[in-house]
Amino acid sequence: MHLLEIKNLSIQIGGQTIFDGLELAINPREIHALVGTNGSGKSSLAYVILGCEGYSPTRGEILFEGRSINALRLYERAQLGITLCWQEPARLEGISVADYLNLGRRSVDGATYLRKVGLAPELYLQRNLDKTLSGGQRKRIELASVFALTPKLALLDEPDSGIDLLSIGEIAEVIHSFKDAGASVLLITHREEMVRIADRASQLCGGKIVLTGTPAEVAEHYKSRRCTVCDGQECHHA
């Protein structure tokens, strides 16, 4: 049984079709990369899976562990084990990193999770999640907090963007750690080297998954502009 299965998903936002009959399946303990051009709907797909406001499907079904979660609210999906590492995490004034790492859990050793994402606990645990943190620091903390939740499915929306080149390897290691801990990952990324750490990959274009295969196959297909949906017209930024 797939951990997550999306069947015939369609959604319109503001009169615009975002997904039209999208199909996607993620296996247990799988890192599944998702590629696509800017605006192809990668982040939107993560929001639909999580159940964000304004992202309710007009048609189709989302199954998690074989059960439809369409009717569940965001926090109920989170309590089932689905969570999201946001591309641009929110700033939360007055909430410390230590408190944030403990959200939804009891007595997490925040220091361990900060070290995992390359941050020194003594410098960060007592800081607040406000605008004094850089975008890259905030992002690493978000990744640490999502890992601390021990989710079953982690939706990672470009965890590598805004991260310095020297640290990309660390981020890749953390993504592997999700799998080692028994979780599956939907990894949204623009970097080919990140696609290659996945077990499988899918390409999103024109509101559909146009190809699912090995990371090498999908990366090659994406770069070749042989998309069958848009005929290469929308995938031209590869």
Binding site: L50, C52, E53, R73, L74, Y75, A78, Q79, T83, L84, W86, P89, A90, R91, L92, E93, G94, I95, L103, G104, N128, S145, L149
Partner: protein, 311 residues
């Protein structure tokens, strides 16, 4: 003395060890209404209090170069459901001194209470004063709080104030602070208020950066629910070369509450710079979804955002 006992209990509820009122190393003033209940000086801190007709006047002086390790506690309020308290506070931090004053203001049963505080604060050159004012209010909202202060910070002085009214009903609040900041001096004013029901909040804080390289920050955080109203005015006036000021106001509204922010920035010297930011609205959806993605219910997420804002 039963009133002192009750004030000690209130201090504990406010998170302060009531032993500060019996510790010989801690200076304090305790007054209920216009009655002075207790007062203690320590080396380096001179306190003079007297009742003049319908006013209780207190003068606190931190002596020159004194470094006061323990905060000075100012416990003032009205324990009864009806009453009026007018307090005159003269606070002086003499040259190169360093002290913290914590004001605990309590109105646990207020149904028809007025509390007016008229403060004159002087920070001499090189001195540092931290002034923290916390309020303990009851559930009835029958209190009018009128804190007024005129603050003068001399060259290289530092004044950091923190006003907090985040539990119980606010009632009617009128904050009116004016701070003049001299050369190389620093002023930081923070106010945090949580209004409920028909609470009525007006905050006016004005900073005049009159000296070269003077610095200031006015930071206001207000959360409102029910039919509460708030108007926050932050004024910063940059009058000297190198003066830098910032006004930062954030207000969260729920239900039918109404919030207004009026940042006023004035610059009358070409090399002064004053900036402001104001954000008013309902709680940011992304903040809520971020917390809910960690398993918090919508109610828990709202509570956490508001608590963080007012922390």
């Amino acid at each position: 003395m039963p009133e002192l006992n009750e004030i000690s209990q209130i201090l504990r509820r406010m998170g302060t060890d009531s032993a500060v009122l019996t510790d010989s190393q801690v200076a304090h003033v305790v007054a209920s209404g216009l009655d002075l209940l207790s007062q203690q000086e320590i080396p380096g801190v001179i306190i003079r209090s007297e009742r003049k007709a319908d006013v209780l006047a207190t003068q606190i002086t931190v002596k020159r170069e004194a470094q006061i390790a323990n905060p000075v506690h100012l416990c003032i309020g009205v324990l009864h459901d009806t009453g009026r308290q007018m307090i005159q506070v003269r606070l002086k931090s003499e040259q190169d001194s360093d002290a913290k004053v914590i004001a605990h203001c309590f109105f646990p049963r207020a149904r028809n209470v007025e509390h007016a505080m008229d403060g004159v604060i002087e920070i001499e050159s090189g001195a540092r004063l931290l002034y923290s004012e916390g309020h303990y209010h009851g559930p009835f909202g029958g209190v009018t709080v009128l804190p007024k202060a005129r603050v003068r910070i001399h060259p290289h002085g530092r004044y950091l104030s923190d006003f907090s009214l985040t539990s119980g009903r606010v009632g009617k609040l009128r904050i009116d602070y004016t701070v003049e900041v001299d050369a190389y001096a620093v002023a930081e004013l923070t106010a945090k208020v949580f209004g409920h029901a028909d609470d009525d909040i007006r905050i006016r804080e004005e900073v005049v950066l009159s000296g070269e390289n003077a610095r200031s920050l006015i930071k206001t955080r207000v959360a409102l629910e029910g039919h509460a109203r708030a108007e926050v005015t932050g004024v910063t006036d940059g009058k000297a070369q190198g003066a830098r000021g910032h006004v930062d106001c954030m207000e969260i509204v729920k239900d039918q509450a109404l919030a207004q922010a009026i940042p006023i920035v004035r610059v009358s010297h070409p090399l002064a710079k004053v900036t402001h930011e104001a954000a008013i609205g309902s709680i940011d959806q992304k903040q809520l979804e971020t917390l809910m993605a960690h398993g918090l219910t919508p109610e828990q997420a709202v509570e956490m955002v508001v608590a963080g804002l007012l922390r």
